[in-house]
């Protein structure tokens, strides 16, 4: 039986204490469109839809957060690029907006009045209002270190990183300026915390040494200037080799993935970094209700004890293809296995 509000539950867990039960963030974005019987494109064309969709999702799955996130490419739209929509998944960024190093000098960080950012803020304000301080509302920024993959293509960005340090740092400065403003605008609109999406930090993507000289410095600067607490998410990249570095960026939580052992992650992070994860979103679409329960139970067993854990998927967004039945089975399993104290764990 739940005895705390979602806000108190999440806050207790993030303080490495055991609340009434394990908090659960079902990070659904496109499912709101399904609920409202709309195309994904139409759904994301108006903040009112996202507010409505998130309210429905929150009630249906008894979620411990509200998630006003639209999709990653909104930031690219703000920088002057496009998003390409499809019917059955999240939109992607269109053609790169940075093609030459001169473009890095020419582009200007977007104004906070850009319509796509205003729409995002409107969704946040609507959900903050609805939450009334009882439910965490999660904001999202893409890290200055990871967003260039969308700004200039992955290959172009890797070449820049290795071959043109000056231009790399010029781009970081511009991206940092935008990221801090955008995160703080969301904080002003009332988000409880900001998710700092930084998959390029992951040792799946860059080497720990490379990260320490680049993305980590960026993260330290940005996070120290954020007016809301942050949770870093590697979008399902590996984290173990850089845990100490992530702790030192000042972030409070970390989204971790199924490529690594959750028990090991918990051991290394315990008391220092709360964990968010790590149900496999891609596999989830084929789970039975029973498998969903087993996976939830396994996660709780490995990371639940002592708090500092929010059950979630391992990417920060559950694919459109995942059925309501599976999502409900996940949620029910949290009630069944997530109540503290976790006496069933021997």
């Amino acid at each position: 039986m739940d005895t705390m509000t979602s806000m108190d539950r999440v806050m207790a867990s993030l303080s490495h204490k055991e609340p009434d039960r394990v908090p659960v963030f079902l990070l659904l974005t496109m499912h709101g469109a399904k609920e409202l019987g709309m195309s994904i494109k139409d759904y994301f064309s108006d903040a009112k839809n996202v507010i409505e969709g998130q309210k429905i999702i929150h009630a249906k799955y008894r979620n411990d957060c509200l998630n006003p996130f639209f999709y990653a490419a909104t930031e690219i739209q703000a920088w002057g690029g496009d998003a390409i929509f499809i019917d059955d998944g999240p939109p992607n960024a269109g053609a790169p907006i940075i093609r030459t190093t001169e473009d890095i000098d020419d582009i200007q960080p977007p104004d906070m009045d850009h319509p796509i950012l205003r729409m995002g803020l409107e969704a946040i304000e609507g959900l903050v209002d609805h939450a009334d301080g009882q439910i965490p509302v999660i904001g999202t920024v893409l890290s200055p270190f990871s967003v260039p993959v969308m700004q200039m293509g992955f290959e172009g960005y890797l070449n820049l990183m290795y071959e043109d340090q000056d231009s790399f740092w010029r781009l970081m400065r511009k991206n940092e300026e935008f990221c801090v403003k955008w995160g703080n605008e969301q904080a002003k609109a009332g988000v409880t915390a900001v998710a700092y999406f930084d998959p390029l930090a992951s040792s799946s993507m860059t080497t720990p040494d490379q990260y320490r000289l680049t993305g980590m410095k960026v993260a330290e600067r940005v996070i120290s200037r954020m007016d809301a607490p942050t949770a870093t998410h590697l979008a399902s990249g590996r984290a173990l080799p850089i845990i100490e570095d992530i702790v030192s960026t000042g972030t409070g939580a970390l989204g971790v993935c199924t490529l690594e052992d959750l028990a090991e992650l918990k051991r290394v992070c315990k008391g220092r970094l709360s964990l968010l994860g790590n149900l496999n979103g891609i596999e989830m679409r084929r789970w039975t209700a029973q498998q969903a329960e087993e996976k939830v139970k396994d996660c709780i067993m490995k990371a639940g004890p002592g708090g500092g854990f929010i059950l979630s998927d391992n990417h920060g967004e559950i694919p459109f293809q995942v059925s309501d039945e599976v999502l409900l089975a996940i949620r029910d399993a949290v009630d069944k296995w997530g109540e503290y104290p976790l006496d069933w764990i021997v």
Partner: protein, 243 residues
């Protein structure tokens, strides 16, 4: 305690060195090439292009083009691919290694006239979107190994892709996808390919297939590759079986 990356690298290198010393004592001719492959792997991982090319210069004096490619460059790349899958090296290293390797092979071809034999036509493609890097890495591994690869580009619809395959009578098609919807769309492509180009063998890869190992079978692909270098072994196996 987690093994730190440097500990791991140290241990691996030590093991490799010991194996190398043992085989040197046995006195094989390929020994220098094994050592060279290990050195090259180190240069690749450190993205040390000058040392990689200095090594190449030394090798061209004593080895054939085929030896350099098959016994030095490819084993180094393969080892890096395997280690990426295990989480021991990063994608930036995989990408840069492929890039340096390609440049090395260009030089090998110039200086030794090395030409690999091709066992069938191979095409690479990205379905639906602009996520090119997987295909780029794949193409560099395949061409480094000496294969002639047709690059079908990216953002292809199923119809466009199948028409190209049918037009060219492609023997081996490699599809790279990053987004789940695109990975699922391979199912439609497979149905059409089986009808319109039944001899074509399809190998798929990309993040969704890594996170869901059953996905390749679900969409009906002939094989799934978890790394670009693995695709080469799959191809070789298919070519042998097909021959």
């Amino acid at each position: 305690m987690v093994e730190s990356l440097s500990d791991f690298v140290y241990k691996t290198l030590t093991t490799l060195r010991i194996n190398f010393m043992i085989s040197r004592m046995k006195g094989h001719k390929t020994l220098d090439l094994t050592e060279a492959a290990m050195d090259l792997e180190g240069y690749f991982l450190a993205v040390d292009k000058p040392s990689a090319f200095a090594l190449l210069d030394r090798l061209t004096d004593t080895s054939t083009g085929t030896e350099i490619v098959d016994d030095v460059i490819m084993p180094a790349l393969e080892s890096i691919g395997d280690r990426w899958e295990k989480g021991q090296v990063s994608l930036s290293q995989v990408y840069m290694s492929g890039k340096i390797a390609e440049a090395m092979v260009d030089k090998v071809i110039l200086s030794t006239g090395h030409q690999a034999d091709s066992g069938g036509s191979v095409a690479v493609a990205v379905l639906e979107d602009h996520h090119n890097l997987g295909k780029r890495i794949l193409a560099s591994v395949l061409s480094t190994s000496g294969m002639q690869v047709m690059d079908y580009g990216h953002a292809l619809s199923v119809d466009e892709l199948v028409s190209m395959v049918e037009r060219d009578g492609v023997d081996y098609l490699m599809i790279s996808t990053l987004m789940l919807p695109a990975a699922l769309r391979v199912k439609d492509a497979m149905i059409q390919i089986k009808e319109r180009s039944p001899h074509t063998k399809v190998i798929v890869g990309g993040a969704p297939y890594i996170f869901d190992p059953a996905l390749g079978e679900e969409v009906g692909a002939h094989a799934v590759g978890r790394t670009a270098t693995e695709s080469l072994n799959i191809l070789k196996r298919m070519m042998r079986e097909g021959a």
